[in-house]
């Protein structure tokens, strides 16, 4: 079976033979950082194009189709355009915070990449509190948004930032509780162990209805957390023109834009890891032949397939639903999602204790 595991071990062995351990570790770090940045750029380009194509298909139009075959290089061209643009800083803005904000948002997104298992044994940092780490870091992105909104000295930005603050803080809760159901089922915070526990079936199948409910709540909550429609109140362009990034232009705007898509990718990757078995292939009970065929598909393909499916679902939401109002958004969280997920967690705990899951 083809796996990325071989490559990583080969590189590591080679480095440790050639150099002393400290230097080898440093070089590994550099390689990882470079890979992460490349992945960032690549994902950004792919996801933006994907969004535009999905939107176009849903809206009975063609979407970008001029630059490159099927419009493949459209986002590359857009990025080039954004790089060449002048990055304006408003006169009355707090210049330091204004320029810092996009990098904070970006950095948070980058940090979140660390514990994600892209394929079998292909993980930057298999931290033993992986799930906790993700919840902790992902709530930091609101600081960047608040910073951007406040520093712009623009009332639209400020309103957008305030909305986003209220939104992210409250949706953290139900996202956290939904993740917690899986932690309860697995009994571990380590992502690799959560994946390993899904060897004989994904949690969404094994965990009965509570797992499905948790999955739905997780998807809703992360859609809200990444400020995507129908929860895109922070930018709500028909109300606040562009919300917190109204004053941003050029590459600084592009960083916000990129961070949004990377965040989507990351939350979808986490969703795929927790509920859909990460890189685990689909196995159905005792169908040996079927399971065997599934095993031949590389683990990275499994992981990417699941992640992109979830990304597609989130895009599908965006191009279907109208936007909620801020008080309805908070109502949804506090009156519906939070009680349901608390109840759900209780159910899951009972299931886990009594060992009713497969």
């Amino acid at each position: 079976m083809f796996s990325l595991e071989g490559i990583t071990t080969a590189v590591q062995d080679w480095l440790f033979i050639k150099f002393n351990p400290t230097l080898a570790l440093a070089m590994e770090c550099i390689i990882v950082i470079l890979l992460a940045i490349t992945l960032f750029a690549g994902l950004g380009l792919v996801l933006v194009l994907m969004e535009r194509k999905v939107a176009a298909r849903i809206q009975i139009r063609l979407g970008p189709n001029r630059v490159g075959p099927g419009g493949m290089f459209q986002t590359v061209a857009d990025t080039l355009k954004l790089i060449m643009k002048e990055g304006l800083t408003p006169d009355s803005a707090d210049k330091f915070l204004f320029n810092l904000a996009p990098f904070i948002v970006m950095m948070v997104a980058m940090l979140l990449l660390a514990p994600i298992a892209f394929a079998k044994n292909f993980q930057i940092w298999d931290i033993n509190i992986g799930v906790l780490y993700i919840s902790a870091i992902s709530s930091l992105s609101v600081i960047g948004i608040l910073m951007a909104g406040w520093a712009s000295n623009n009332k639209y930005s400020l309103l957008g930032a305030m909305r986003s603050g209220a939104q992210i803080v409250s949706y953290e809760l139900s996202a956290g509780l939904a993740v917690l159901t899986i932690v309860v089922l697995t009994g571990s915070l380590q992502l690799s162990e959560i994946i390993a526990a899904q060897q004989n079936g994904w949690w969404i199948f094994k965990g009965h209805i509570p797992a499905v409910i948790a999955f739905v709540i997780f998807i809703i909550a992360v859609t809200a957390e990444t400020n995507r429609a129908p929860f895109d109140l922070a930018e709500a362009e028909s109300e606040l023109t562009a919300g917190f990034h109204t004053e941003y232009s050029g590459m600084k705007f592009a960083l916000f834009f990129l961070a949004e898509y990377i965040n989507i990718f990351i939350v979808c990757a986490i969703g795929a890891t927790l509920f859909l078995g990460g890189w685990m292939p689909l196995h159905i009970g005792s169908w040996e032949a079927f399971n065997h065929i599934m095993d031949y598909i590389p683990s990275s393909v499994w992981f990417m397939g699941k992640t992109f499916f979830l990304i597609f679902v989130i895009m599908w939401f965006r191009w279907t639903f109208p936007r909620l109002r801020i008080d309805q958004l908070l109502n949804l969280e506090w009156k519906y999602l939070l009680p349901i997920s608390l109840l759900n967690l209780l159910l899951v705990a009972v299931i886990a204790i009594l060992g009713w899951h497969f």
């Binding site: 639209y156 109300e239 606040l240 109002r325």
Partner: protein, 378 residues
């Protein structure tokens, strides 16, 4: 009194009681044109809305004073460009009333069919734009698909897609295209199939309903007091359809219902417009097969001269009652023209409707008012 520098100062500072003052527009995605609202906010709650108009003011009333009666009709297409045909019709009706010009039956039938097509096109555009105001982008494209069919019918028969100028005093500029009836029927068929789409996508959508129900309530009394007309007033339970009350052309011969809702909120206004589209289809279906043969334009003099006096006609545009008021001195040009545009009066109710609600509600309220800025500024 505001002047330019004061507006700028106000936006960087706070209001007298520490409120946020936001200049919404003239360039804003939700104002559909160059409407400028100065919104005073207390947090997310709106305290006061003050419209600043005139960004697209062309003084059409003054312009018309120097045009002849034949010429001034085309200018009115530029007022409410989404129901330009109905605007033209209002002006033509006024001249016909003033000069007692006999209009052939054929022309009357075609005028009504085209008016109703215009109304559907306008409501379709409104539906898409309104959904977009609330953050749903996709219905916009679906509505434009059907609207495109109407504009193509218009293009084929009138020679233009939006500002048709198809009406002359006494009838029509030229006869309908031979394919007209066939195409209109094809449109009706497709429209009936596709109109259910919006029920799934918009009308029954829980988010849409919660965004519009109980939002921007206008009571019947207020609607009358603010001079609201059209779907805005009808959603509040005021019967004000000019087509029913003062029928013109062949509206007295067709059967249709005046759509009236009583809730007076944004959702009622939405429902009124959707049902109105169906009523328009009903009118077209009754007329399309029985367009009488004959002339398409009546006999008129070369130079039209309205007798001395004051004349007023009203027509029901997609947005409400358009009143055309002409004062004639007996010459070839009108002495004074006043257009009582529906949007102008409807906009004046905005502050009353939206004060006290959230910014998001303002979009729902403004969206369902169906403002066309050139119609307000004239």
């Amino acid at each position: 009194m505001y002047n330019q520098t004061e507006i700028i100062k106000d936006t960087t500072n706070l209001g007298p009681e520490g409120e946020l003052i936001i200049n919404m527009g003239p360039q804003h995605p939700a104002t559909h044109g160059v409407l400028h609202l100065v919104v005073t906010l207390n947090g997310e709650t709106i305290k006061k809305i003050e419209p600043h108009l005139g960004y697209i003011h062309r003084s059409i009333e003054k312009m018309c004073e120097s045009l002849t009666y034949r010429q001034f009709i085309y200018v009115t297409s530029r007022m409410d460009y989404l129901s330009s045909h109905i605007n033209n019709l209002g002006c033509a009706l006024l001249i016909e009333k003033g000069m007692q010009i006999e209009v052939p039956e054929r022309a009357k039938y075609i005028r009504v069919i085209l008016s109703e097509l215009t109304r559907i096109a306008s409501h379709e555009l409104w539906l898409g734009a309104m959904a977009m105001d609330l953050g749903a982008f996709t219905p916009f494209f679906y509505t434009f698909r059907e609207r495109e069919m109407i504009t193509e019918i218009m293009e084929e028969t009138c020679g233009a897609r939006l500002t048709m100028n198809y009406i002359v005093p006494g009838g029509l500029m030229y006869d309908i295209h031979p394919d007209f009836q066939k195409k209109v029927k094809a449109f009706i068929k497709q429209f009936k199939e596709k109109v259910t789409e919006f029920e799934d996508l918009v009308t029954n959508n829980i988010i849409f309903q919660s965004r519009t129900k109980g939002i921007g309530i206008l009571t019947a009394e207020d609607a009358i007091s603010f001079g609201c007309t059209g779907p805005v007033a009808r959603a509040s339970g005021v019967s004000c359809d000019i087509r029913k009350l003062y029928p013109y052309d062949v509206y007295d011969k067709v059967e249709f219902d005046e759509v009236i809702e009583t809730a007076g909120d944004s959702f009622a206004r939405y429902i009124v417009r959707v049902k109105e589209m169906n009523q328009s289809i009903r009118i077209i279906e009754q007329l399309i097969d029985c367009i009488p043969e004959g002339d398409f334009v009546g006999k008129t003099k070369n130079v039209l001269k309205l007798p001395k006096g004051e004349f007023y006609t009203r027509v029901e545009t997609a947005r409400g009652e358009l009143g055309v008021f002409v004062v004639s001195e007996g010459g070839a040009n009108p002495y004074r023209i006043k257009f009582r545009s529906p949007g102008f009066s409807n906009l004046s109710a905005l502050n009353h409707m939206a004060a006290g609600s959230k910014i998001g509600d303002l979009m729902a309220t403004m969206g369902t008012l169906d403002l066309v800025i050139p119609d307000i500024d004239r």
